[in-house]
């Protein structure tokens, strides 16, 4: 496969007394879906927030296309082609879908100092992009607060995809979704990957990971337990890895191995 | 009959002093058979007061009575009203010269600085060398004028003898006590009205200094006149607000009806109320005095 677009080396992150990440290395290549798995509190969200410029790593190195970078803000990361769909969705309920879609990168027209937002253009693109994802909006000025959870998720993904990211990071996009919505998100991931974008997919759900992942990295208590290629690992092995492989056995026998 | 006048003051809604004026206006208006509206800027903001003058002149009243709280602010609106042919009488604060410059018919009132100066001279005669001026509405320019006049009368520079006491009576009382404790050489007090005088009386009494300290105040109230009687307060500057409320209404009525008016301004103060003449004013203090 191609060289890594984004590479993180030995990332450490402390929050005051809390050591959230303790030397994590990770990379994404173009056109692959790299799954990041791990239990609650393993540090997945912290790690991807480091990637996307929300936090600065306490220690460690980040490389984009082989160049060392240091993001001061999410804006920098976006400029470098890293788009993120956060677990907490980063949508503003009282604002319209179109305004949310374009937030932070509003299209403009006219000349300074009379530059205005190109609302017509923004609305058209929003409606078109949402339709591509299978959502028919009542109108581009519908408030996001009136959308369902699944619909909001889709706006967030559509936004990231539209802005032509090189790397798309999805933090547990399926955890609150129903079956149909989940299938939709997974097939979107698949579609995005085929466009040559590197996808970082975070989930608790081993089956969702296996459905779309090319590589799998498991985080545990702030450290990596290693990376596996697709095919080299199966669901139960991953599950054991995530759980630390201990008392799960006892539970599984009583519940029939269906977790 | 039924002429419309407005009486515009600078006192905020909560200012108790203008009550006597309101009462005077009411009585005089009934006597003369006119309607006089009392108006004031709710927070005491003089810019709002200027709007009131403009409003009255827009409403086309038959006469305006207005205090010269700040010559600069009121100059434009008053001149406009006069230009419109509305007779204007200035009252209360401000000087006769200012009144004339504005082109008002006359001035009925008491110039604040001079009143303070008079009080200061009196205090100096009584031997006051170090004083405190209890200012309960320091944001109001007129109040500072009174303290400044007082200081000049005694012949000292106004510095931190003027204390920002606030309106809350307990705070005023305790601030005065604190000042007197920290500055035991103080032998004169000036308060600027009932709001600062009443708590100060208590402070002085609490400290056993009643009669020991030369205490002057502006304006009257029931408690102030009691204090004058028992010797705590040496004098109160009475600017006879009743007259400030009443005379302009009478003059305007007669002017509008019959075209007659006095030719000179009338100074209603500073009159000094002391133990000697307190009997007269005691009964009516706060309501008509």
């Amino acid at each position: 496969m191609s060289a890594a677009i984004l590479e993180m080396k030995n990332i450490t992150k402390h929050f005051g007394p809390v050591i959230a990440l303790n030397g994590v290395s990770f990379d994404v290549r173009a056109g692959e879906c790299h799954c990041l798995l791990g239990d609650n509190g393993a540090g997945k969200s912290t790690f991807i927030k480091t990637m996307s410029g929300v936090y600065r790593p306490t220690e460690g190195q980040m490389l984009v296309d082989g160049q060392t970078v240091a993001f001061a803000s999410p804006r920098d990361a976006m400029a470098a082609g890293i788009a993120t769909v956060y677990q907490d969705l980063a949508m503003i309920p009282l604002m319209s879908v179109s305004r949310n879609f374009w937030m932070g990168r509003e299209p403009e027209k006219g000349i300074w100092p009379f530059r205005t937002m190109n609302s017509k253009f923004a609305d058209d693109i929003t409606v078109a992009e949402m339709r591509k994802m299978g959502i028919n909006l009542r109108g581009p000025d519908q408030a996001v607060g009136t959308l369902s959870g699944g619909e909001r998720q889709t706006v967030a993904i559509a936004r990231a995809v539209y802005f032509g990211a090189k790397v798309l990071i999805l933090d547990e996009p399926t955890s609150a979704l129903g079956v149909r919505q989940t299938a939709n998100v997974l097939s979107t991931v698949d579609r995005v990957r085929k466009q040559g974008i590197g996808v970082v997919f975070i989930t608790h759900n081993v089956r969702h990971a296996l459905a779309v992942g090319d590589r799998f990295t498991v985080l545990n208590r702030g450290q990596t337990l290693g990376t596996a290629e697709r095919g080299a690992v199966d669901a139960s092995a991953l599950q054991d890895l995530m759980a630390g492989g201990q008392e799960l056995a006892t539970l599984e026998s009583s519940l029939g191995g269906t977790v | 009959e039924g002429e419309q006048f407005v009486w515009i003051s600078h006192g905020p809604d909560s200012d108790s002093w203008f009550n006597v004026i309101k009462n005077a206006i009411k009585i005089t208006s009934e006597q003369m058979g006119v309607t006089t509206e009392y108006r004031n800027p709710p927070t005491g903001d003089l810019a709002d007061m200027a709007r009131l003058v403009q409003q009255a002149s827009a409403a086309g009243v038959d006469g305006i009575i207005v205090t010269i709280a700040d010559y600069n602010v009121l100059e434009g609106p008053i001149k406009d009203a006069i230009a419109k042919g509305i007779p204007v009488i200035t009252v209360n604060s401000g000087t006769i010269e200012e009144s004339q410059k504005l082109g008002a018919m006359m001035h009925v009132g008491q110039p604040e600085y001079e009143a303070g100066l008079g009080a200061g001279k009196r205090a100096k005669e009584a031997g006051v060398t170090s004083f405190v001026c209890v200012n309960h509405y320091i944001t109001n320019p007129q109040s500072v004028e009174r303290c400044r006049g007082y200081a000049d009368g005694i012949g000292v520079e106004l510095g931190n003898q003027m204390i920002d006491s606030g309106m809350d009576p307990s705070e005023v009382q305790n601030k005065v006590k604190a000042y007197l404790t920290a500055n035991p050489e103080t032998n004169g007090i000036l308060t600027l009205g009932p709001n600062s005088a009443e708590p100060s009386i208590r402070a002085v009494k609490d400290m056993g200094l009643d009669g020991q300290i030369y205490f002057g105040t502006f304006d009257l109230s029931a408690e102030i006149s009691a204090a004058i009687k028992d010797g705590t307060i040496n004098f109160a500057i009475d600017q006879q607000p009743f007259l400030q409320g009443s005379i302009p209404v009478q003059v305007l009525t007669n002017f509008v009806r019959y075209g007659v008016a006095p030719t000179n301004s009338i100074l209603t103060g500073p009159g000094f109320v002391t133990k000697d003449n307190i009997e007269l004013v005691e009964k009516l203090a706060g309501e008509y005095r």
Partner: protein
């Protein structure tokens, strides 16, 4: 996510809502209704008092314009999710600073005005910076500045002039180009012509007999309208406006997608300070004096205008047009009560009632918009 067909189909789980009802749903609706109501009301009770003659109109227009200037600043700031209780103190401070610099220090007027604007905007930036940096609610930080600035104003004016009122600004402002921008009047010719044509009343007696009762539109009114238009344009038409909404709606979310939230908020604090300075300059230039008690409680009045105009106290929702209408309502009610000869101590009671009724109405409207209950 319920449909994957391309043609929108009405959702069977939505009851029908009349389209006219939908069209009406906008933040400034409350303000619009309120304005109409207020004019009808005073038209009925004070119609013959001169309130709607040229001079009366100018009277409440000027008062409304004053409110509008600070309401526009407060509105944008409130939509950005913060508010500023130091506006009133800032007005007093700016006026006194201008007067001290020009009258006491002898600076030329334009220099005094420029320096005051620069310093006050800097103070606004400090306000904003503290709010951002400490993460404290703006209520607390600006409350501290309310006290600090008022204290400095009183101290400064007493220290430099032994008075809390500083006159003589008018003489210094004479012929100054920048002062004219705040204290001047425009369209004087038009009014003279209208007076001559008999369209507006003229003075009938006194030494200005024959001149029209209005000799021009004060620059304050021009500023108010200008600021309202600018604010409305900024908020609804520009990228920056979108960021203002975003910063107030959910600062964290906005930060995640790359909106420079801190910069937006600090800029809005600076804009609010700028509006306070415009207010102070117009007042000082018009009246020729500054006083330490100017602007008392104006912060509340600004907030009231904004809230009457439909903005949400918690940020992220509102409209500058609404705030401007709120200012008009406030101004008309305040002056109208005088025209109607109402007992003036009841003014506050009315004000409180109007505030309550207006916000309850606005809440109802907003609930329809967002569908929340």
């Amino acid at each position: 996510m319920s449909e994957t067909t391309t043609a929108p189909r009405p959702d069977e789980r939505m009851k029908q809502v009349a389209p006219w009802r939908r069209a009406l749903i906008r933040p400034e609706l409350g303000g619009i209704c309120g304005t109409i109501l207020v004019f009808l009301l005073f038209g009925a009770i004070a119609g013959d008092s001169g309130m709607f003659a040229a001079e009366g109109v100018l009277n409440w227009t000027v008062v409304s314009a004053q409110f509008m200037v600070i309401a526009v600043g407060a509105c944008l700031l409130m939509i950005a999710g913060e508010f500023d209780l130091s506006v009133g103190s800032m007005i007093g401070f700016a006026g006194v600073m201008m007067a001290i610099l020009s009258v006491q220090m002898g600076w030329p007027m334009w220099a005094a005005i420029t320096a005051t604007f620069a310093f006050c905007i800097l103070l606004g930036a400090i306000n904003g910076w503290l709010v951002i940096r400490t993460g404290l609610p703006s209520f607390i930080v600006t409350l501290a500045f309310l006290y600090i600035l008022r204290g400095l104003t009183i101290w400064g004016s007493v220290y430099f002039t032994r008075q809390t009122i500083i006159g003589g600004v008018a003489e210094r402002a004479q012929g100054d180009w920048l002062a004219a921008l705040f204290g001047g009047k425009i369209l004087g010719g038009l009014f003279t012509w209208m007076g001559d044509a008999g369209w507006i009343a003229t003075f009938t007696k006194g030494n200005r007999a024959g001149q029209p009762v209005i000799d021009g539109v004060p620059m304050l009114v021009v500023w108010a309208i200008g600021l309202a238009i600018f604010g409305h344009w900024l908020l609804t038409r520009t990228k920056f406006g979108n960021w203002v909404f975003a910063a107030g709606g959910d600062a964290q979310a906005a930060r995640y997608v790359g909106v420079p939230v801190n910069r937006v908020k600090i800029l809005m604090f600076m804009f609010s300070a700028f509006c306070a300075c415009v207010f102070a300059s117009c007042q000082v230039m018009e009246f020729g004096s500054a006083a330490a008690d100017r602007g008392l409680l104006k912060e509340f009045e600004a907030i009231i205008c904004v809230v009457i105009g439909g903005a949400l106290l918690t940020g992220g929702y509102g409209s500058v047009i609404g705030a401007a209408l709120g200012a008009i309502i406030f101004g008309v009610v305040q002056q109208g009560l005088f025209f109607a000869n109402a007992e003036s101590s009841l003014f506050r009671v009315f004000l409180g009632m109007i505030l309550l009724i207006a916000v309850i109405m606005n809440t109802y409207i907003r609930r329809i918009i967002t569908g929340e209950r």
